[in-house]
Amino acid sequence: MADPIKVYPSKPEKVYFYGTCLIDLFYPDAGMAGIQLLEREGIEVLFPEDQTCCGQPAFTSGYHDDARAVARSQLDLFPEDWPIVVPSGSCGGMMRKHYPDLFKDTPDDVRAAEIAGRVWELTDFLLNACHIKLKDLGEPATVAMHTSCSARREMGVATVGPALLGQLENVELVEQVRAEECCGFGGTFAIRHPEISGAMVSEKVGTLVDTGARDFVTTDCGCLMNIDGYAEKNQQPIKGQHILSFLWQRTNATGEQTGKGGDKQ
């Protein structure tokens, strides 16, 4: 469950950036956007080269030995006391909520708990620790926000995306019905129960299309590839990108287009 009361750090000099494996492979632009947003706030971004994956896929599949092995490697990446920012509700949730349990009864239990306490979802960090103020430089646009289940329920950041989008003068945020309902990704759930997952994403895309918006944003790449992939296969008029890409595009003066969902292939 999300912390009822979060104690945010004050804006730090440096942060560790934990990119996540999905961003690494499929949406590196979103990662770059996040880093650039942080740097623009005057924060030095440390990118530990040895980062790989938080371990969640093995964890939720029940292979905890393997998950622990991978997660243990991640524990070595954050030796100094800087906040760890993660551009994903799901991976952030894994580290913040589940690392303490995963390392219970191991010699790393204290270290894991300490690191978990420093993990922040990136948009939450930008809004509530950096107190970011966004200036919209873009043309009028309508967009819907998909808040992932982990962002909502594990990281407690459902209001953050709307708040950041609300700072953008020319952006109209519309809300889909049953916004709190899962999009059907669930990591390996989409592979193990494809039909149920397919039914869920089909309805999710329908509700997004019904808002009239042509674009949506989200903090989570799993949801993004799920919803975007369904819309593309079924020729539905809705396209998504990571909220960090969207925020960077709207607010940086060079007009640098990081592209939607990844560079041109």
Binding site: P28, T60, S61, A67, C149, I196, M200
Partner: protein
């Protein structure tokens, strides 16, 4: 897809979860019935809790149940003592079969030929009706939803609203076919017909069987919630009343009931309270003019004491059977209750049934969830359902040497191929150089990515590998 799966998603055994889920997904009636029903129940619950400090109320619910579980054996003994003092006979049953025997023996001792039933999920778990029927004792359901389900020769598809999978037309047809009522969409007419049919049964039944919502140790009291009045009929009219309950339902004090009741009815159906809250503390006294002369309580274990052994899994026993979890579950909403093939469906079913039937027979249960957490968010007693699902997944594959699995049927889903895949994945992702090399290659050769990725690409385009990984771009940046 098997024949039977096509005909009806309602009747197949649990090993066939996938075909049954598929049948339900493609059944527009089921999709429609459940979507409408769940949307209604969700919004009613939200409305009912308006003005409440819901988090604090849920904390109270969780603490009441934790306190009860912490003292479970002592409380059960106290409950037994108090009930006995009050004149209620207490029986203990290790498993469902033993519980059925106890009920049968009481019936036989009273030369009982007909049993009328109030709603009881434990009796469904016991398959009591079937057991009694096989031994020449008629068992008739009196709760309208259960009555409908019994007429259809089905099992309940929801723990609170047993016939939720049927719409008015289907019910009208059923009542017409089985009991001769007119075909009608007038719910009042259909209800009035059921009232008439069942009234005779109440009057003539030899034994009434009910469940228990809360059993109070302090006063020796059995508490029941209901709207129809059939529960009061069942526990008042027949000369003998047998209540059946899981051993986890006991609470220490009568005050506890106020907190749990406030949560139960609002979580279940969005009602501030049910029409009747019935609290029974004894059989008919010498000077009383109605009520059963004999009251029995059957305490049923049936796997609960196994759940009790484990510090994490014990939270499963907090459940007060409100059904909010399934009302909010996107999986349940789409496949309906029968797809699970188990007495208890939905999220509570997925964490409870593996202990009752084993992780082998229930192999699909823990994974049939996207771990969205909607269930845990609404559970009135804060059961961490997603965490328990992950734990059960670990148990299913014997996936944690540090915490060896112990749930019945553990390891049933472990297969060598998948274990090797995760081992390989683990090796790659704990060796950063190897990871960077591997992902770099994948990016470079992304055009060779297969277009078809099984279940994924059945519904979606494949995710597109970026030309350069974030690692590569950061490396370039630093140069």
């Amino acid at each position: 897809m098997t024949d039977t799966a096509e005909k009806s998603p309602h009747q197949i055994d649990v090993k066939e979860f996938h075909p049954r889920a598929r049948a339900a997904l493609h059944n527009p009636q089921i999709r429609q019935n459940f979507r409408k029903a769940m949307d209604g129940l969700m919004s009613k619950r939200t409305a009912a809790f308006e003005g409440w400090d819901l988090e604090t109320l849920r904390d109270l619910g969780a603490n009441i149940r934790k306190r009860a579980l912490a003292n479970l054996p002592d409380l059960l003994e106290q409950l037994e003592q108090k009930l006995t003092e009050n004149g209620i006979k207490v029986h203990w049953a290790v498993d469902a079969d033993e519980a059925c025997k106890i009920v049968r023996d009481i019936c036989v001792a009273r030369d009982a030929k007909s049993v009328i039933k109030g709603k009881s999920m434990v009796s469904e778990e016991m398959e009591l009706n079937h057991y009694l029927q096989e031994r020449g004792i008629e068992a008739l359901e009196s709760d309208l939803g259960e009555y409908i389900v019994q007429l259809a020769d089905e099992t309940p598809s929801h723990i609170i609203m047993p016939a939720i999978h049927k719409n008015t037309e289907e019910i009208s047809q059923l009542l017409h076919d089985k009991t001769g009522t007119n075909l009608s969409h007038d719910v009042n007419y259909l209800t009035a017909s059921a009232r008439l049919q069942l009234r005779e049964k109440f009057m003539n039944a030899d034994v009434g069987v009910s469940g228990v919502n809360f059993a109070v140790a302090e006063t020796g009291t059995l508490c029941l919630v209901e709207n129809e009045g059939n529960g009061r009929m069942t526990t008042t009219v027949p000369p003998c009343h047998i209540a059946v309950t899981g051993i986890e339902k006991v609470v220490p004090s009568i005050e506890d009931v106020t907190g749990l009741l406030a949560l139960l009815t609002r979580s279940a159906t969005g009602q501030h309270i049910t029409t009747y809250f019935n609290m029974i503390s004894g059989p008919r006294k010498a000077d009383e003019l109605d009520g059963p002369e004999e009251v029995h309580l059957v305490l049923v274990d049936n796997g609960r004491s196994s759940i009790y052994q484990d510090d994490q899994l014990v939270d499963t026993l907090r459940c007060i059977r409100c059904g909010a979890c399934m009302n909010h579950c996107p999986v349940y909403t789409r496949v309906g209750g029968h797809a699970y093939g188990t007495t208890y469906p939905g999220p509570i079913g997925k964490i409870l049934m593996p202990h009752l039937i084993g992780l082998d027979e229930g192999r699909h249960l823990p994974s049939a969830s996207s771990l969205c957490g909607a269930c845990g968010e609404v559970c009135p007693v804060k059961i961490p359902i997603p965490d328990l699902l992950v734990r059960l997944r670990q148990e299913s594959v014997d996936g944690d040497k540090l915490h060896p699995a112990r749930v019945r049927g553990h390891g049933a889903k472990r297969n060598t191929v998948e274990a090797m895949i995760w081992k390989g994945w683990g090796l790659m992702h704990s060796r950063p150089g190897f990871y960077r090399f591997g992902t770099g290659i994948a990016a470079k050769f992304r055009k060779l990515q297969p277009g078809s990725l099984g279940g994924w690409t059945q519904y979606r385009t494949a995710p597109k590998l970026a030309p350069k990984t974030l690692h590569q771009r950061m490396k370039e940046r630093q140069q």
